[in-house]
Amino acid sequence: MTVIDCRGRPCPAPILELARHIGDVDINAVISVEADDPAAGPDIRAWCRMRAHTFLEASQADDGTPRFTVRRLH
């Protein structure tokens, strides 16, 4: 699974990196962003709405960093 590491990087880096790398995965495949910025969760959800992808889930990486998983729809 493709995982983008945005630890230590403030907004809007997590959604910028997600936008840069969403094309790396096939349509209907998933991609995750690991980010500790408190804006990452709300912003990735808002990005999915604005860009018409699916926000799948918020979970945690092994080190406890929040991980946000998205399905590429187009």
């Binding site: 809007p12 840069r20 804006a39 912003d43």
Partner: protein, 328 residues
């Protein structure tokens, strides 16, 4: 005499009796006293409940946390508005409930009158800070709070109004003077009352012009690529426009607009000075980065608005280019 006149004047603006009005040294302290005193006056059982919208001003939320009650936060829709029925059922049996007249970040009005009507015995605290300079506050409040700075007065005055018959116990040691301890700051109160009277005297005309300016800003900003214009398009205060720009650092936009002579605010947390994004933007599911809040006031001209709209697209494009986000 001066204090009496100021009290009468403010009371009239919020449809209260003079003896229902107290002045606090700040809007924050008025809000704290509203929440703590209402909970104290109505608490039953070990952990009384305090129900509030998810988008209240932080001074209301912090007072609830401080009171160590069971806080129930009622979520909002994408415009930042609570559902009146959902709010009422969450507030049933609570010691106190708090619902702002409208939101301080996106301007959306809340269904205060509908909630108040259905709430029964639960006292409703209404923060009217954003409304009071522009329009008559909504009816139905048990306890009202306002920050005079928001209607354009200097610092040093907040309003606390407690409706006759509402149980409110002072959250401070007893003081003979009234609900709040200490002597009031008379010059600040007189100035605040005078500026409120002036604002309300021309409010109907001013609000029409400001609403037209805000509608113009909302329509023009919506044409910029990847910008979300926030808040209810119609049922809103006349003076605030808020939007979030994708792939933009809110702080960078603020700095660039400041260089052009425009002072705006942001609910973003793109800098180290603000660690958390705005709880209002999070609650409404809005993009928190690249957030910009524009306020107009009675002195704002249409030419000011047009100049702002002329520079904004370039500012947003420059910030996106610096972040390497162009074309994403």
């Amino acid at each position: 005499m001066l204090l009496e006149a100021a009290t009468e004047s403010v009371a009239e603006s919020v449809a209260a009796r003079a003896d229902e009005i107290s002045f606090a040294p700040s809007g924050a302290l008025a809000a704290h006293a509203a929440v703590l005193g209402t909970i104290r006056g109505n608490a039953r059982g070990v952990r009384p409940r305090f129900t509030h919208s998810a988008v209240e001003h932080s001074s209301i939320l912090h007072a609830g946390e401080f009171a160590a009650v069971e806080s129930v936060s009622v979520g909002v829709d994408r415009f930042a508005r609570v559902d009146a029925d959902a709010f009422v059922s969450a507030a049933r049996g609570a010691a106190a409930a708090a619902l702002q007249a409208g939101n301080h970040e996106v301007g959306t009005r809340q269904p205060v009158a509908r909630v108040a009507e259905a709430l029964g015995d639960v006292p409703l605290i209404v923060d009217v800070s954003q409304a009071i300079g522009h329009e008559a506050p909504p009816e139905g409040w048990s306890v009202l709070t306002a920050d005079a700075r928001v209607w354009g007065a200097g610092p040093g005055a907040g309003v606390l109004a407690v409706r006759t018959g509402t149980r409110w116990s002072p959250p401070f040691p007893a003081d003979d003077r009234g609900r709040l301890p200490g002597a009031p700051d008379l010059p600040a109160i007189v100035a605040a009352a005078a500026s409120l009277r002036a604002a309300r005297a021309s409010a109907a005309q001013d609000a029409l012009r400001m609403r037209r300016q805000i509608d113009r800003i909302r329509a023009a900003v919506a044409l910029i690529d990847d910008v979300d214009v926030l808040g209810d398009p119609v049922d809103r205060f006349p003076h605030i426009a808020t939007f979030s720009c994708l792939y933009v650092d809110g702080e960078a936009v603020l700095t660039a607009l400041d260089r052009e002579g425009f002072a705006v605010s942001s609910g973003s947390s793109c800098t180290s000075s603000t660690l958390e994004p705005s709880h209002v933007l999070v609650a409404m599911g809005a993009l928190t980065s690249g957030n910009v809040r524009v306020s107009v006031h009675p002195g704002t001209t249409d030419a000011d608005v047009e100049k702002f709209l002329a520079v904004l697209p370039g500012v947003v494009a420059d910030v996106r280019a610096e972040l390497g986000a162009s074309g994403l």
